[in-house]
Amino acid sequence: MLKIYNLHVQVEEKPILNGVNLTVNAGEVHAIMGPNGSGKSTLAAALAGREAYAVTQGTVEFMGRNLLDMAPEERARDGVFLAFQYPVEIPGVSTANFMKTALNQIRAHRGEPTLDAVSFLKLMKERMKLVEVDQSLLNRSLNEGFSGGEKKRNEIFQMAMLEPRLSILDETDSGLDIDALRIVAHGVNALRSKNNATIVVTHYQRLLEYIVPDFVHVLYKGRIVKSGNKDLALELEEKGYDWIKAGLATA
């Protein structure tokens, strides 16, 4: 599904990613871990197409297409979804109106007809239940005045609405209490299938107790320095990142 080869990314002329290689197949969950400043969020942003993130080298192939040539909205329509670490507050645009616009643009891209108001509302209610989003949030301005937990649940709600092929969760666990974490993880797990894949970017192992990864990768200084199965996350939790850093220093 996703093939990242030798990806180099700069932000404001400062190199952040220095040759990332990663292959994600349908049905898989990959966790990207690493200390602060290692480039985790940069990887997520570059995949979603954020403009300030300049790719200087390497390729990214998604569903056989060159992802790096595509505008952010084209990536989304082809099935890439980024759950933001800091969802943006947008006064004056309701969540419902926003989702309707997005879903219909994606449906048009897939050659599906526009959803009528009744079907849209029905779909929305059903997906809201999944992450226990309160109905009153839908008519409020997008993310405006939402609590941290509400914002993150709203991200997963949007993911449930748009049914992406590849979901990238950028530190979705940050700022969540344990109950909200469970709700969010439950939503993500419910949406997992053999046809889609998930990349979980996180600093802590905690989220991975709920969203169990097939692979764990450690990103350090802009490269993946170690990969393994879910046990690697536990090992990191126990030993900290210094253990990885020390290993690299002696190697």
Partner: protein, 417 residues
């Protein structure tokens, strides 16, 4: 030097043009003309009109009018399902046959007021050329269900110089929505030099909504005064969508206590247009509240000016007065001059002001696009959301809906169909 002597100044040319279209000057008006001759029309060095070259715009477009008998073609209604009272000015003069009033409303012609010190020069110009002062009295306790429309109908085949002047006296506890707009059926540039006053009695509730879309050739100076008595509730909304040069001078005077006053404005400026909003909120008595929110979106070579003065007089303790001006510039060649001015003589007040100017929020744009929304539609969504905030508080759903559709048409063409 010979050429400057031969060249008549704008005032002379306006006078001649006006006379050519059937105007007969009255001697008392000569005072106003003399007053203007003394100080002249404002030029680029006049502080209040520094960024707004009304005279230059007029000189560039002015042509002597060929007398035409204006004819009303098409509908004068702005919003279909409102059928309230209407006062119609045709090329600046009251058209009694088009004017319709409900019970509780009476129209009179008052003598033109005397000159005041410190009067705006275009107000004086209006005094010199206005036919009369159209005065509408709204009886105490009257509640108008539909908006009262004030229509400026412009029909021209040559330059029209219109000087409508009206006053509405709203009785105690009466409730009125005034909806003022221009219907432009002509083809050539015109100058609408309007003066209006609303006096709201005790406990009256007024909404004064001005929608400016009088064609690309419009030059307008819109002098508007609103005076509020005790416990009055007022909302002024000024929405400018079109025009070569539009200058709004809105002065709201809070003459009583326990007043609730709102001033909202929206200007969407593109092409080579210039829109200038000068507002004054004058708190004269204690315990009143005012809130002002003006927002603008400038594109292409659009230029805008916002100047917001708030006065809190020494008597006006416990005043709450707030002001905010927010602007988005969409092009390199658009610009905004914004200037808040607070003058506070009372010591127990809460006042604040703030202004922002920036581009469209890139973070928000990316967020919307990352969900599959195209750049154009995302931009339209954000801009309409930005503009629509100014509509909050307008009671008539039909007016809100109508202005929303105008905003959509201008800022979000993909969704407006």
């Amino acid at each position: 030097m010979g050429s400057t002597v031969e060249k008549k100044d704008l005032l002379e040319r306006l006078t001649e043009g006006f006379e050519a279209s059937g105007y007969s000057g009255k001697p008392e008006r000569q005072k106003a003309i003399d007053a203007l001759r003394g100080r002249g029309l404002p030029h680029s060095k006049s502080e209040e009109y520094r960024f707004t070259p009304v005279v230059r715009a007029l000189e560039a477009t002015f042509e002597p009018a060929s007398p035409v008998k204006p004819e009303i073609r098409g509908s004068l209604r702005l919003i279909k399902d409102t059928l309230g009272s209407q006062i119609v000015f045709v090329n600046g003069r009251l058209a009694p046959e088009q004017t319709r009033l409900e019970k509780g409303l009476t129209l009179t012609f008052a003598p033109l007021p005397a000159l005041q010190p410190g009067q705006d020069p275009f107000d004086i110009l209006n005094l010199a050329f206005a036919e009369n002062l159209v005065t509408l009295n709204v009886d105490n306790g009257i509640e108008l269900r539909d908006p009262l429309s004030i229509v400026h109908y412009i029909d021209n085949a040559g330059f029209v110089f219109a000087n409508p002047r009206w006053t509405i006296n709203v009785g105690e506890t009466a409730s009125v929505t005034v909806l003022e707009y221009t219907v432009f059926a002509g083809a050539t540039p015109y100058f609408n030099n309007k003066q209006s006053t609303i006096n709201a009695g005790k406990g009256a509730r007024i909404e004064f909504i001005t929608i400016q879309q009088g064609g690309r050739e419009e030059v307008m100076v819109n002098n508007a005064q609103v005076r509020l008595a005790d416990a009055a509730h007022a909302l002024c909304y000024t929405c400018t969508l079109e025009g070569r040069l539009i200058r709004n001078n809105l002065t709201m005077t809070l003459e009583g206590e326990q007043i609730d006053a709102h001033l909202n404005g929206l200007y969407l400026v593109s092409g080579n247009s210039l829109v200038d909003n000068h507002t004054v909120v004058d708190h004269q008595k204690p315990n009143s509240f005012s809130n002002e929110l003006y927002k603008g979106v400038m594109d292409e070579n659009g230029k805008a000016v916002f100047n917001g003065k708030i006065f809190v007089r020494q008597d006006a303790q416990k005043t709450n007065a707030f002001q905010s001006n927010r602007n988005i510039l969409l092009s390199e060649t658009s610009n905004i001059h914004t200037k808040p001015q607070l003058e506070i003589w009372a010591d127990d007040v809460k006042c604040s002001h703030g202004c922002t100017t920036g581009q469209l929020d890139e973070e928000a744009l990316f967020y919307l696009r990352s969900r599959g929304i195209s750049k154009d539609i995302a931009r339209g969504l954000l801009l309409t959301a930005f503009g629509s905030e100014t509509l909050e508080g307008i009671r008539h759903e039909s007016i809100r809906g109508y202005v929303e559709s105008l905003i959509l048409k201008k800022l979000h063409p993909a969704e407006a169909s």
